[in-house]
Symmetry: C2
Subunit: 732 residues, 2 copies
């Protein structure tokens, strides 16, 4: 049990540690909170007893008031299932209900009473119910595997069985989360609430103030907040939308902090950070720095230009691609920030030093051979991966059945995605459910159908075709040793012939039935033979390309099997060497980061203060997007200093604040609470200098960006007059 | 004498004032320094007795160690005529001596011994010798004038007579400077040193580090310093370059401050600020805000795009237009900053309040009628000016014989400039010298010849023609009431016909002899009849256009005559109302600003510290212009913290610093000295937020940017090993 010493063991079994080198580093699991010295937590500013944050015996606590909402984090703020999260996290619902004659995107939305709340087709709220360590079960299943691929299959199989058993409980949604590359496996039981309704969204000019220009930046003046409410059946069961449903009554919720927050104040950032890479060894990080992010920057930059070029002058086309373009731009900017952050933070060099220190430390210990072999093992896998790196990177851009490739992005050629998805699903449905690739089991079908339907409104064929063409050109340009059979077969003759390739693709698109959404939906569950019969050129390529993906999946499974042996060994040594709790990499499970409100210096002679104000938002106002504050907000700004939501020290309504919270993607909408567990804000971004914190925490620049809850309250109070909501929040 | 109470009266005649509302506001004349309470100056940080800065009896003092160097300021730093100023101020000399095989621009230059110093054809150093109040003389001459135009003529005439008499003294260069629009006239006697040699210039990558991107910006890491030496004949007389000349021995020079400068330290910025507009009334400022700067932004923006377009893909053409393009870009960015600054600082609104306060104060006093009539008089002139504003603005862009139009810029069509200059000079040379327009007297001929010769290397005809075409198009688009006869006559038929206009201009350029520099030089002093005979199409237009300029000159003279009556009356009231010294607007005469080293907040949540470091320069280094530090500088940066030029507090070699000095264009190269009169830096810019300080001083954002002299010393010492120079500077 030694290996689980810090991660999930009970607090009582631990000798508590009083000193912390990097206090703010770490996205702690709920149980780790109990392993941290309570005196230290108190000294940081925690006023509640840690046991109130998390009750080991019950497997829940106040932390569980932080929930997951389709890719984002969120928090309950009333006993009646009221939820706050980011505006951008609820944007889909706003869009769903927006009509030209009732433009909720532009004007925002406020439900003046519960019946006015707007249901959503796609929003899901996931509330954690119980965490169970299942490492022994997984390891027992994996131990007899004949080879690395079999090991991966055995682990996957064991996880599925655990999930299936777990989901027999009423309303239960379950998953097995992997920590530290396999050092720990935890079964997480949740309840998924499916009737989620929009309660409040500010005008887009508030919720997205600063837009792409301010994205990843500070100072920030974005009112990135919105509210929803979760409903259940009258019996209290999870249910799809029904008029007779009643508000869900969460066991825990965060009261709103009237006093707000200021420089130096202790805060906790709670939520579901997606993925980080701090457990990689230096060589693996170098792969990210030297290959992964530079390639992303190149490829996404190329796609952005292609989409802009093909939609130029056509507002309708621009609307169709807007959401995708925003996603790619965000990833593109992220890749740039990662590359810059690696350089500035000397992240690989520092990891190399840390790895070497660990190896030296381990050398004198009994487990030396095992530890050094683990490092060599990881290096060997990497070496193999690098041999076909370019091909595998490009293939992974069509992430069909490739859940194990971290951080890859969809191709943004929807047609390619549909072709491969339909082809792969046809093959997987021919297998027993338990043997299918992840994401293609029976329970995944609704999600696949959803996505097919959703994407109808976001496809502009000329842009889609051009992105497809650029993608093929990159595949055709691979060195001979890495060529992709399906691509060679279908498009090999167009190598070096960009015009002919595009003319051919135009024919392919014309001849394919996949460009019609209704046809696609019909094909989604058709068997392979039926699909083949159609002789659809896109589908034909989809099957061939899926063969190549299958080969990649097999390679990935083998590598993964080897990594699942070596990584835990290496990480066990890292934790033993640290001699104190070490937070595992993010994996979309509930975490908490302990932080303080503080500014930073982004560069020579520049200091950023930790708070922004309404006056600062007005300063940025130009009257043009993305700096176009609504007239009613500007008109009220003069009275803002006298508002009860004004910050006394700032003499104005506060908008944003910085803290040294340890966050990443997935922390969008994370409740930020004070030492009494009261809500002071919502996390929505990291600063530019901190983008590479996924690889290492640098206290000098590690800053997360939150919107001050008082800005939301001021909007609700002084602008919207939302009395009922303010009353429900306990501040009227 | 009351009117001169504060400006040039002797200190003894004043009741000294102990309190100052805006301590740092004011570009003080040397004599005003003696009117300021010495105790207050001491409290600010002045350690020298004020009498050492300026000796009223002798009309000189330490301030006179600040000299003027062709449009810039500079300072003597050794008894042997060694001068420091900005790199960009000596760039012309560097360029003059740069050859492909000896690229001083790129690599910089250091004279290891005096014979190595490089003479310049164009550099002139002007050292102030004596200041004499001549207001009575001017006013006596002006008092009998029959009308405003005659008044302007009489004032000009009286000034010329004073200058002529003054220049009878050996080596004397003289001018009459006008203060507060005519409240004061001062005869300034100087000595002009004509043998000025380049001693040191850093590589361009240091001297222009940050380039146009960082221009007007902070934080700044530009090593904008260079050194020259002034020489005189062995007899000590001003002389053109001769090998036998000897270093000039200035009476005053600034020793270098070894200790450097830090936050809060007192500094004085000495130099020759060009022009400011704080004495304008609110309505006149509104003209600048609403018309002048927006038009400049438009016109210059158009020209920039035209020049970039016509030179695209041609590196040779780009080199030809580089200097002009830089000048226009600088003015373009300045215009943007002015417009933004007017808005942010509510400058017009605040001036309106100040004007109204003054009017209310004056209403109860005996001079009420006179003061209010002065304001009305200024308003009336403005009203008339606005009637033909667009035409006059455009005509003023060809500033031939239009010295009274403040802040106008050359047309950047050299051909247009040459045509009008040659035409106008032919006419002026037919008149007695004393009756000619300013800039066209006998003594101006060398300067005109110089410019004609200098511009040879900066003309690219296709760009020149396109700028000419754009200019004509604007003139042709004027409303009918403002049409320009010469333009209508020569180009009227091309209104609305851009292609035909350009084709025609191409013919005109082909047919004109003015495109040849040698021909131009020959024509520069030809009489009108001879020029007319050539039937040169450009010259023909030049004569016709000059007629229109003559009409404008007459209107300007009449307005000026009226303003010269009203402005002094109004300003006299402003000064009386203030009850303390009021610094007059800048007019290219010697001034001093008392300041402190300090940062500022440019916007919400952002604070700029007052100093930058070498580490910050490295942070910006990308390896590409304008952020491409020389290898030897980067290599030495690691040792910089241990250098004797490192700042102890910063732990690094300091590069730039901010102070709340009151500066404007012309202050480039201004010596910045500490309370002991020791050199701590060289001013070279203002910050972006402070561009509109020409109209009003805002202590919150009024910051001038200087390069720390220790950066220059570090370069000389640790990089160049310039022992002789360091010894001469007294630091070796």
């Amino acid at each position: 049990m030694k290996r689980r010493l810090f991660l999930f063991a009970s607090a009582a079994s631990l000798s508590l540690l009083a000193t912390w080198a990097l206090a703010a580093e770490g996205k702690w699991t709920p149980r780790q909170v109990l392993q941290i010295d309570p005196a230290w937590l108190q000294q940081q500013g925690l006023e509640l007893p840690p046991g109130q944050l998390w009750d080991e015996a019950r497997g829940t606590g106040l932390l569980a008031a932080a929930v997951s909402i389709t890719g984002c984090s969120a928090g309950f703020v009333s006993p009646d299932g009221l939820i706050v999260t980011n505006h951008h996290c609820l944007f889909g619902v706003v869009q769903e209900h927006s009509r030209p004659e009732r433009d909720l995107i532009t004007h925002g939305f406020l439900a003046r009473s519960r019946p006015d709340e707007l249901p959503s087709k796609t929003m899901r709220v996931t509330v954690p119910r119980r965490f169970t360590d299942v490492t022994d079960r997984i390891e027992a299943a994996a131990s007899g595997a004949a080879d690395p691929s079999a090991r991966t299959r055995a682990i996957t199989q064991a996880q599925r069985e655990l999930v299936t058993a777990c989901e027999k409980a009423p309303d239960a949604g379950c998953r097995v989360a992997v920590f530290d590359g396999g050092l720990q496996y935890v079964l997480i039981e949740t309840i998924e609430l499916r009737d989620v309704r929009l309660v409040y969204a500010p005008p887009r000019a508030i919720g997205e103030y600063g837009g792409e220009i301010d994205n990843w930046m500070w100072p920030r003046h974005t009112g990135d907040f919105a509210m929803a409410r979760a409903y259940v059946s009258p019996e209290g069961r999870s249910a799809e939308f029904a008029p007779g449903n009643v508000p869900y009554r969460p066991e825990f919720h965060f009261p709103v902090a009237r006093r707000g927050v200021g420089p130096g104040d202790f805060v906790m950032v709670l939520g579901y950070p997606g993925i980080t890479y701090r457990s990689l060894i230096a060589e693996e990080m170098a792969e990210r720095r030297d290959r992964f992010f530079p390639w992303r920057e190149q490829v996404f930059g190329e796609w952005i230009r292609a989409i802009e070029r093909t939609t130029e002058g056509s507002p309708d086309a621009q609307i169709l691609v807007a959401a995708d373009l925003k996603t790619i731009q965000n990833r593109y900017k992220n890749a740039q920030g990662q590359v810059a952050g690696f350089r500035r933070g000397r992240i690989v060099e520092r990891q190399q030093e840390a790895d070497d220190r660990l190896a030296a430390w381990a050398a004198d210990r009994p487990e030396a051979a095992e530890v050094l072999a683990a490092r060599d093992g990881l290096r060997d896998v990497l070496k193999e991966r690098l041999e076909t790196w370019e091909r595998d990177f490009l293939l992974s851009l069509v992430p069909v059945g490739l859940t194990t490739v971290p951080g890859s992005a969809g191709t943004f050629s929807k047609m390619l995605y549909h072709a491969v998805t339909i082809a792969h699903l046809a093959r997987e449905r021919a297998k027993p459910d338990a043997q299918r690739t992840a994401g293609f089991t029976e329970r995944d079908l609704p999600r696949l159908r959803d996505r097919a339907a959703r994407e109808e409104k976001s496809t502009y064929l000329p842009a889609d075709r051009e992105v497809f063409a650029l993608y093929l050109e990159r595949l055709l340009a691979l060195p001979e040793t890495q060529r992709v059979p399906s691509v060679e077969q279908f498009f090999g003759k167009y190598r070096g012939a960009p015009v002919a390739l595009r003319a051919h693709l135009e024919e392919v698109y014309k001849a394919s039935a996949l460009t019609s959404a209704s046809t696609r939906e019909g094909l989604l569950e058709a068997p392979e033979a039926a699909l083949r019969e159609r002789q659809d050129p896109l589908l034909a390529f989809g099957f061939a390309f899926d063969d190549d993906l299958t080969a990649l999946r097999a390679r990935l499974a083998a590598w993964e099997g080897r990594i699942s042996v070596h990584r835990p060994t290496w990480r066990r040594a890292v934790i033993a060497h640290a001699g104190e709790p070490v937070a595992p990499d993010a994996n979309s499970t509930l975490r908490v980061s302990f932080a303080h409100v503080k500014g930073y210096s982004p560069r020579d002679a520049v200091t950023y203060g930790p708070q922004t104000t309404l006056a600062g938002a007005l300063e940025k106002h130009t009257g043009e997007e993305p700096f176009d504050l609504p007239e009613r907000v500007r008109a009220s700004a003069a009275d803002a200093p006298g508002s009860r939501w004004a910050d006394e020290r700032l003499g104005d309504v506060p908008i944003g604040f910085l803290a040294d919270g340890d966050t990443t993607g997935g922390n969008s909408g994370s409740p930020v609470v004070n030492g009494r567990g009261e809500l002071v804000g919502l996390n929505f971004d990291r600063v530019w200098e901190n983008v590479a914190n996924d690889f290492g925490y640098n206290p000098a620049i590690a800053r997360n960006v939150s919107v001050d809850i008082r800005y939301m309250l001021w909007m609700l109070d002084d602008i919207e007059g939302a009395d009922a909501l303010l009353k429900e929040l306990g501040v009227r």
